[in-house]
């Protein structure tokens, strides 16, 4: 329920010109600011005395509605462990003819990319932004074309004009040189461009240019039936298929006012833990590749492969696609499959323990990982970093506990051991990951024990209720992902926005890499192990 002291503090911050309402969920609060100019002061109240963090920023084009404006919602969430599951939305109306809002980035560094993205896709300018370069659109994108405005026809191709250079910070001096890397990399990985400015091996500055895999998926989903759009959401990112599919479903189920049945919620959480497990196990192996420990790489790949083969037995797909659907799950877990699951997890646990022993007993690997790529605790907080990267820098955050979903939202409490380390280096991230994988194995055992016979789905009837908002936060293998969905008057998707954990974590990789030497970048990068595709969408 809304907290009267918080509402008073926010009203005071806005000089009285703020209206507060409950929503989108009953535990949430939406504050409409009468004047956009009050945004920094009100945000400061949330960030400061209420120690909240920026969860996501969602712009919408409502020029065709009676409001006739653009809107921006800055969504905040509490960061104190044990704080209630709540989102506080600061809502401002933006004049489409003069789309300007005050920038929060200097005070709230996590707002940086959100504001640049809003400028590219909606033409909303955050005045005072310290680095207003384009973020999402590259190569000769035409001036004044904003693809997420409703008037823009999303099926229209925008021609490419190859550009050889992009604007970035240039350093000059004796021995200073630039190393361009990507977007096409040497290995089988996703595309991104990294521009190192260095002196010898020392990194002076790193500029990461991403959004190469920007496919326009949010636009693609607009106007679809929310039940069809689910299949797009499930395919935003391969290794987050369960997490993003589930986040979309939970937002949609809020809109439809239904709850998935208990058995479905348990199976959803099992799937989420299995997704975390194959990722974490594979990622421990991949870090070994960055440290040239090939036995570890092969062992990690083999363990991951075994888990993905099990995924295919459980869900018919090695990335667990086709298991979670709106309203519940579409496949059950038979006793046979549960038997396979139990054996596979037991073997995985033994394999992972042995792999970690080999890593820890190998001084040449430990030496590479220790003190490498440090992310300071305060930087992790300022950038609202999520997941393993945050927890390895001492941030006690996990959406399974902080925004309960799946079986965690059930009536019976489910214990979760949130693994924290304080060092913030590559070793800490590897160790946290391995311990979390063990915790996932324990959790799956607990979830399976709780399975009772029962229905797998509730029906979602079309058309879905119009003009409603759903918001959800899911702890994916990479960290907390925030989903925001709204239906139009006809119950179709009006706007969907995903803030993936990697979206907040990429700037942290850059900071951590600047504490390392150039040859350690692959190691630092792999120790964060972020997705490009769910950042870029």
């Amino acid at each position: 329920m809304a907290d009267p002291a918080l509402m008073d503090a926010l009203r005071a911050g806005a000089g009285g010109s703020a209206d507060a309402d409950v929503g989108p969920r009953p535990s949430d609060l939406t504050v409409r600011l009468g004047r956009a100019g009050d945004l920094p002061a009100v945000a400061a109240v949330l960030i400061g005395p209420y120690s909240m963090a920026l969860a996501t920023v969602v712009a919408t084009d409502e020029t065709a509605t009676p409001d006739g404006d653009l809107k921006v919602r800055y969504v905040f969430e509490p960061t104190a462990p044990g704080a209630p599951d709540r989102f506080v939305t600061l809502l401002i109306s933006v004049d489409a003819a003069h789309p300007e809002v005050p920038s929060l980035t200097t005070a709230v560094p996590a707002a940086n990319w959100h504001e640049r993205e809003m400028q590219d896709l909606f033409g909303i300018v955050s005045v005072g932004h310290p680095d207003p370069r384009p973020l999402v659109v590259h190569d000769g994108w035409p001036q004044g074309v904003f693809p997420l405005r409703k008037a823009f026809d999303g099926s229209q191709r925008v021609p490419v004009e190859p550009a050889d250079e992009f604007p970035h910070l240039v350093a000059e001096g004796e021995g200073v040189f630039e190393i361009p890397v990507g977007p096409i990399h040497a290995g089988i990985i996703e595309p991104g461009h990294f521009r190192f400015t260095s002196v010898g091996e020392t990194v002076l500055n790193l500029d990461a240019r991403l959004f190469y895999t920007h496919r326009g998926l949010e636009k693609r989903m607009e106007g679809l039936s929310p039940l069809d759009a689910f299949y797009v959401a499930e395919r935003i990112c391969g290794v987050c298929s369960v997490a993003h599919g589930l986040g979309y479903c939970e937002a949609l189920e809020q809109i439809a006012d239904v709850t998935a049945p208990p058995r479905a919620r348990l199976i959803r959480s099992i799937a989420l833990e299995l997704e975390r497990l194959y990722n974490h196990v594979g990622d421990v192996g991949n870090v070994c590749a960055g440290a040239s420990f090939h036995y570890g790489t092969a062992a990690g790949m083999r363990l991951k492969e075994r888990l993905q083969q099990m995924n295919e037995r459980l869900a018919g797909n090695r990335f667990l696609r086709g298991l979670v659907v709106p309203g519940g799950v579409r496949l059950d877990l038979s006793d046979d499959l549960l038997g396979v699951l139990a054996v596979t997890l037991q073997d995985t646990l033994a394999g992972l323990d042995s792999l970690m022993e080999r890593i820890e007993a190998n001084p040449s690997v430990v030496d590479r990982l220790d003190d490498t790529g440090i992310l300071q605790h305060q930087a992790a907080l300022d950038l609202a970093v999520a997941g393993v990267a945050a927890r390895a820098s001492g941030v006690d955050r996990d959406a399974r506990r902080d925004h309960p979903h799946g079986a965690f939202a059930g009536p019976e409490p489910l214990d979760l051991h949130v693994v924290i380390a304080s060092e913030g280096d590559a070793m800490a991230r590897v160790t946290v990951r391995a311990l979390e994988a063990r915790e996932s194995i324990r959790l799956v055992g607990e979830l399976v024990r709780r399975l009772e016979p029962g229905p797998l789905q509730v029906a979602l009837v079309e058309p879905l209720p119009g003009g409603r908002i759903g918001i959800s936060a899911i702890e994916s293998a990479r960290g907390e992902a925030v989903h925001w969905l709204r239906t139009d008057a006809a119950g179709r998707v009006e706007r969907y926005h995903l803030r993936s954990p990697s979206y907040h974590n990429w700037p942290a990789v850059v900071l951590a890499a600047e504490t390392a030497i150039v040859p350690d970048f692959p190691l630092v990068n792999k120790s964060f192990e972020l997705c490009y595709s769910c950042t870029d969408r």
């Binding site: 191709r157 036995y295 086709g322």
Partner: protein
Amino acid sequence: MLRILVNALRTGVVTTRYPAEPSVPPDRFRGAPVLRPGSALPPPAVCPAGALSEHLDAGRRHVVLDLARCVFCGRCAEDPWVDAVTMGRDFELAARCRDDLRIEVVADDPTVPAAGPAPDPDAEAARASSEIHRVLGRSLHLRHLDAGSCNACDWELAALLNPVYDVRRLGIDFVASPRHADGVVVTGSVTRNLETAVRRTFDAIPDPRVVIAVGACAASGGIVGKGYASAGGVDRVLPVDVYIPGCPPRPEAIIFGILVAVGRLSARRLAREG
């Protein structure tokens, strides 16, 4: 060090023998949907990927399944179409021609057989590729090109190098530079932001070269389709030699497609079997 050796020996050989021996996917695996001629086939709107279409021919309803677009979600085989469509277990779906991936079925008359494809669309392509087979058939070095995928296809390509699939045993390897490559495996629908990099990478590969489109997005645009940020498939930008359906294709399906590309296996005639 000794412990590592002991562990390695104890693990033994984990490598599959595919394609020398067939790979049997698990029961729940969703391969190519099988449309039963003469049944009440689902309307195109059922498919979230736009893989189903229909038209009238001589008064009869024809339904066409485009495997290049299919994301194998299983929705068309759910209630109330369980009698009309089943999810098959076939995963060796790679084809040289986009048209070979279109399966046409007559919906309302069981006596009319499934329409076959054009006489032999494969022959021309096969002839063209004999040079590729001669030069690259035994040893193929590929460059991976992510043209805007969701990373699932990329991870499956990476899995080809794991100890289970180990494609180096088949003379296939992945290389870092396009200048060392005999071809590209492309994932993703070709985003606007990658189009320049895709063209330049391809241009850097010496002739003869193969282009293999891996997964629904690369083969057809998939669920991403065509839009302001997506070209809608690799063949809108590069000449594609082989299309590998799947979302993502399982590793064996990719191995099958790569071997088809260099003429070591022949693509099966899916449409005719329809």
